[in-house]
């Protein structure tokens, strides 16, 4: 009976971790995606100062969450994402506007792909 009780508690714990990880990853990726979308809008209206600030905000947010994300996601995916997000600030200038839009779209696609891999059952 004691073993069964421990087993039930372990089941509850694993379920709780699973639910927490789902909410956490979903929330993080949604926030980063929203920031990147805002940065793209700022770049489109040629507000490069805001674009750089928002990109820096996205980078800072990702860096803060990266250690927790590493508990649930493959490190090579996170490393690739980290590199892409960090580079965006450098592109937020008038002469690199097209590059910024391209890189930010690529990063958003990568975010969506990783999110899909994390949540897909098959």
């Amino acid at each position: 009976m004691k073993r069964t009780t421990v087993a039930v508690w372990l089941l509850i714990l694993t379920l709780a971790i699973g639910i927490f990880s789902s909410f956490f990853v979903h929330r993080c990726f949604k926030s980063i995606d929203q920031l990147l979308a805002q940065a793209q809008e700022a770049c489109a209206v040629q507000d490069y100062e805001s674009c750089r600030e928002i990109s820096a905000l996205a980078t800072e947010y990702f860096m803060k969450q990266e250690h927790l994300l590493a508990l649930f996601l493959r490190r090579d995916y996170l490393r690739s994402l980290s590199t892409d997000i960090s580079a965006l600030s450098e592109y937020s200038r008038a002469e690199y506007a097209q590059d910024f839009l391209f890189e930010s779209s690529k990063t958003r696609t990568e975010l969506a792909a990783i999110k899909h891999l994390f949540f897909s059952i098959i």
Partner: protein, 226 residues
């Protein structure tokens, strides 16, 4: 490298804990669900050791989950025979009164060679000597020999009741007293002290002391070397 060392240690300790949690059933002959969980756990455990890119939780969580399912399932099987039968199946008789049930063998996909091998493992070379042979749910074969072919017991031979009633049990193992065994064989610590003083040894010098409910015992002292 240190990461691999830490991961391996964590996974190793986790597996030991899970196997202890699942109990002796996992170490003995396995039911189908137990075999599945043992195989899965061993494969999952190696994943995070082989692939440092993967988070440790991706190995740990499934292992804990499988062990928990196994425990909960065994508890449910204890309470419900229907579910136990669904999970583990039921024992099947393959020999009745010396006659092999070929239909049962076909259902089990047992060849006659498998049956003969199982019987030989029980020191039976002729299926005609078997009253009943059952294939258990864990794949082992239980055999009940016919009266004529079975070994006679002491009562069959009319032998008088004789001691000992208890088997030889370890009373002291590597200097540690096993009191439960002592009391089960109707002995006590005073008897133990007496034996030790008769043999002029201290408790810490005893490697093994075996005894039963008679006065007979076997004492092995610790060797000087190694």
């Amino acid at each position: 490298m240190l990461v691999i060392f830490l991961r391996t240690t964590l996974v190793y300790l986790l597996i030991i804990w899970m196997m202890r949690l699942m109990g002796k059933r996992q170490l003995g002959e396995l039911q189908p669900s137990e075999l599945v969980s043992t195989i899965l756990i061993s494969n999952l455990a190696s994943i995070s050791i082989e692939e440092p890119e993967l988070p440790l939780l991706s190995s740990v969580l499934p292992v804990v989950l499988i062990a928990s399912f196994e425990l909960v399932l065994s508890f449910v099987c204890l309470k419900s025979r229907k579910i136990a039968r669904l999970i583990s199946g039921r024992p099947i008789i393959i020999i009745k009164n010396g006659i092999i049930d070929q239909q049962a063998l076909r259902i089990l996909r047992f060849t006659i060679d498998d049956v003969l091998e199982a019987l030989r493992a029980k020191d039976i070379f002729d299926p005609a000597e078997v009253t009943c042979a059952i294939v258990e749910t864990n794949g082992s074969v239980s055999v009940y020999r016919s009266w004529e072919a079975d070994m006679p017991s002491r009562s069959d031979l009319g032998l008088q009741f004789s001691h000992p009633q208890r088997p030889m049990m370890p009373f002291v193992s590597d200097g540690e007293v096993l009191e439960k065994n002592l009391f089960w064989c109707k002995k006590n610590p005073d008897w133990l002290k007496q034996v030790l003083s008769q043999n002029r040894v201290g408790l810490s010098d005893v490697f093994l002391l075996m005894g039963n409910d008679t006065e007979e015992y076997t004492l092995t002292k610790k060797s000087q070397h190694g």
